[in-house]
Symmetry: C2
Subunit: 539 residues, 2 copies
């Protein structure tokens, strides 16, 4: 590496923040939250962010704004949306690509930020619209002329987690009789058990791989095709390809339809491209899909605002950097108070940690400061009965991001003890943010709550397709903005290569006894492949 | 609090470990792994632990063994199993209970460690066996004399995560036609959407709450009962109660059957008690349930071994403490290479973080050192395509615990590129442990891998009921052993109380407009309850 270069070491605002971090705002002081809550609110699109329960004050916010300006976060964000080649490391071999995931939803204005990519997105959307109409009218139908009811989505990583999180979140909006299933893991049990629960005759299969060569997806595609054939079905009449133009999967002989993804959209940012759109459009319909894209597009434009107090993703990005880099908190808990978002933390885990898990700058120097935190979470109130003990009384300080909605999706509810379940859900979320911030002194040390544990609250009226699109775009923008601040390339993933190379070598030894592995691999295989077989003697 | 008392500050072994931590074993050095892999292996029951890829050597292991001895980990573990009152804080009000989750599977020997609790467990198992026979013969049947096919499990936290993780893991062993569904969240959408996919006429409902007063579970029970009635069914003929003797739920008028849980088993350790056993027994049958208990019991006895190199849970506990307390790693990733274990990390998150998220000793003093890490994870190979970028190249060092099995559960597979999916799965897991340890130098800084990122590998032949029982018991033992080393009470959860109190106050204001909340709560409600309503204008 070419020495160390740290924007957080050289930016004047960072020096101020380091000073301020020695005595951050004390949320546990008498009256500390008085009058503060209305002051620290930001509305963008359908979302409101409440951040009075962060350890910040006017000085901190001013310094964070200065840091954002010094790092040119918004300038870079605008450049990204307009087609700048930001997926690169200067002076070294790298992907060297544009970053245009926002273009695929920038379809609601006459003047898109990057017209060429948006035109390509519109072309794919037009293909999808017409395909969905054919499915609806029966022009494309299952054997015997019956309707297709199920979309089986086969992908992994970016081709799975985003689509899965989004589609699960919007299951309440499924067209009658429509549903989606997902297969990702190369674990054959994943595929076998999903197939056992799927009526293949009425199932379309959406195979997603940009390169067309992803090992897991190819293996699962083959398992699915074998099963289709064994059931007397023609795979070519069931399988759709979502892939790069010209990839090995871009072959009309093998697929009912192909939809294209482009190399300027990274896998983990591809939820609103054809990667997510085909399955989502099938289950909630094309109009629902458009609503989803519209929500995302609205946020993308609002995120160009330079004033952090009016820019919700920028505000979240900077509060995250304050907690992580200056207050030294290693993780971020994302806690949706919505069961529909149960896979959203897993999606964020990829989108955030694969983007920000970097140790060199875009110039190839060591970063010299911490980059991405570990992101994790489960829905509330479930989490309250699980790991919140550690949030309140543990020795690790975990900043928390709560996500909640005033109204439920199905509007079915019941009253117990004078309140509805939805009211209980909201009340619990609000209570947690206060408990974490304020704490509580107690003479019994085991009932003492430290407080000063920062959190923020992202709230909207109801989780609709539009709101889900906005939520996705908020996090995507937040993540790339943090990357701009840290001076890293948030768009590549060289860190996954070594494991692939080693796996391929070990696989050669495993699958082909003639191949002789090297010393360490040989030792590892010898020890790993013979665990105890006590089991049979016991059961 | 009464001053600070840190076993890790006073134990002589801890001083040695702090010295050793300044230069931990370098896994990236030329030949560092040579000859090491066979030396660092531990077999217990059906599992083998490979730990050569941890940053330890003979000196580290000797010091960790000394620490275990000085902290009397195994003595305390034995005392726990024999009924010592360990759930307490000396000198302060506390739960003051025994800790006997191991007793409920200690049923395969004539001399159980704590005969009274084991006798109570046997009595409940006998009730369950006879109930399951009645269901099988049709003596207990759905309306019209049909078989019950589905168990709808309603609980939250310890009454949900363990049973869910275990039952999901063993879905391959379900009796024909049998399945389980789960409801936990107070989010009404969770219940509504699960009920919409459940054929209630053929469904038994297992309601689990030790106190019989858990708010979420009561609300969900009511939603389920209302739906049963609306469908013309008699809730009393469908609902089972799993509760403490004498709780408000212990009422034969309202339930088809009751099974008891006892206050000496904490919720997060209750997976092998009636809390998990009723649902698991229903889906995989009583013999499968016994296999599961037998696997757990086998580990419980093996875990009494004082030599850490022969005691797998103790070894995992001490390696965890080495990484967390001495090498300063804030989190632990648990990465099962088995889709069947997809909810196991969520269970561990509760079992570990609720047990170890503590800041005072059992004497009520500040601990003076770190206690539980943040535990998180997703199945591989999915995770490889998601957050592994950060594991390999991020600035947070994340120790990883891999769990894998040589054979798949269903034995269905396919060959792609000359190997099966199961072989690909195993090869990838082994490759990751090597890649994290060894790293790789590269002239391109973006392709440089640091290495020296510790991991361990827990491997068994196949994930059967017996093996799942053993896996559960390994982690339960590991967690309590870490607690004994840290000097904390791993069995209470006072940290969840403040949120409950505040939630109840906020709920009063939300549900009852006459109730006037205080200043901060009023401000928070005013701001939180009116997010933007742009949505309607857009969609």
């Amino acid at each position: 590496m070419t020495g160390e270069h740290s924007i957080l070491a050289t930016a004047p605002a960072a020096a101020i923040l380091r000073q301020l971090a020695k005595q951050p705002y004390d949320l546990t002081a008498e009256g500390a939250l008085f009058g503060r809550i209305p002051r620290y609110v930001c509305d963008n699109g359908p979302f409101r962010l409440l951040y009075a329960t962060e350890r910040i004050d006017e000085q901190t916010l001013a310094a964070l704004q200065a840091l954002a300006d010094e790092c040119q976060i918004i300038d870079q964000f605008k450049a990204m949306r307009r087609g700048a080649v930001l997926n690169k490391i200067d002076g070294y071999a790298s992907e060297n690509r544009q970053v245009l995931h926002t273009a695929c939803r920038d379809i609601f204005t006459a003047e898109p930020a990057e017209p060429k990519a948006t035109a390509q997105a519109k072309a794919e959307l037009a293909k999808l619209k017409s395909f969905l109409e054919e499915v609806a009218t029966g022009a494309v139908s299952a054997p015997g002329g019956k309707q297709f009811t199920t979309m089986l989505h086969v992908g992994i990583g970016g081709s799975d987690l985003g689509p899965r999180a989004i589609t699960e979140a919007l299951r309440a909006y499924c067209l009658p009789g429509r549903r989606a299933r997902f297969i990702a893991n190369v674990d054959p049990d994943d595929t076998v058990r999903t197939l056992a629960e799927t009526d293949l005759a009425h199932t379309l299969v959406c195979i997603v791989s940009k390169s067309g060569t992803t090992l897991e997806t190819r293996a699962n595609e083959q398992l699915v095709r074998e099963r289709l054939q064994a059931t007397g079905l023609d795979p070519g009449q069931h399988c759709l390809a979502i892939t790069g133009q010209g990839s090995p999967m871009d072959n009309p002989a093998n697929y009912l339809r192909s939809f294209y993804m482009y190399d300027y959209i990274g896998g983990r940012y591809s939820g609103a491209s054809m990667v997510g759109a085909v399955t989502l459009g099938f289950v909630i319909g094309y109009q629902g899909l458009l609503d989803f894209l519209r929500g995302a597009a609205a946020i993308d434009w609002l995120a160009e605002e330079a004033d952090m107090r009016k820019n919700l993703p920028l505000l979240m990005a900077l509060l995250g950097i304050w907690n992580h880099n200056f207050l030294d908190m290693a993780t971020l808990a994302v806690l949706p108070y919505s069961q529909a978002l149960h896979r959203f933390p897993a999606h964020l885990q990829q989108c955030d940690m694969e983007s920000s898990g970097k140790a060199i700058t875009t110039e190839g120097a060591a970063v010299g400061h911490k980059t991405g935190p570990v992101v994790w979470g489960e829905p509330g109130t479930n989490g309250q009965h699980a790991f919140y003990q550690l949030l309140h009384q543990g020795t690790e300080i975990v900043p928390a991001e709560f996500i909640g909605f005033l109204r439920s999706q199905y509007s079915e509810d019941c009253q117990v003890d004078g309140s509805t379940s939805q009211q209980k859900l909201i009340a619990n979320m609000l209570a947690q943010t206060l408990a974490l911030a304020m704490g509580k002194a107690d003479g019994n040390p085991n009932r003492h709550f430290f407080g000063n544990r920062p959190s923020r609250l992202l709230i909207a009226d109801r989780l609709t397709p539009y709101v889900m699109g906005a939520l996705l775009a908020i996090y995507e923008a937040k993540i790339v903005m943090q990357g701009f601040c840290w001076g890293i390339n948030s768009f590549d993933q060289e860190g996954v290569q070594l494991g692939k190379v080693l796996a391929s070598r070990i696989l050669d030894s495993l699958a082909n006894e003639r191949a002789t592995p090297g010393g360490v691999e040989k030792d590892l295989l010898a020890q790993a492949l013979c665990p105890p077989k006590l089991e049979e003697t016991w059961t």
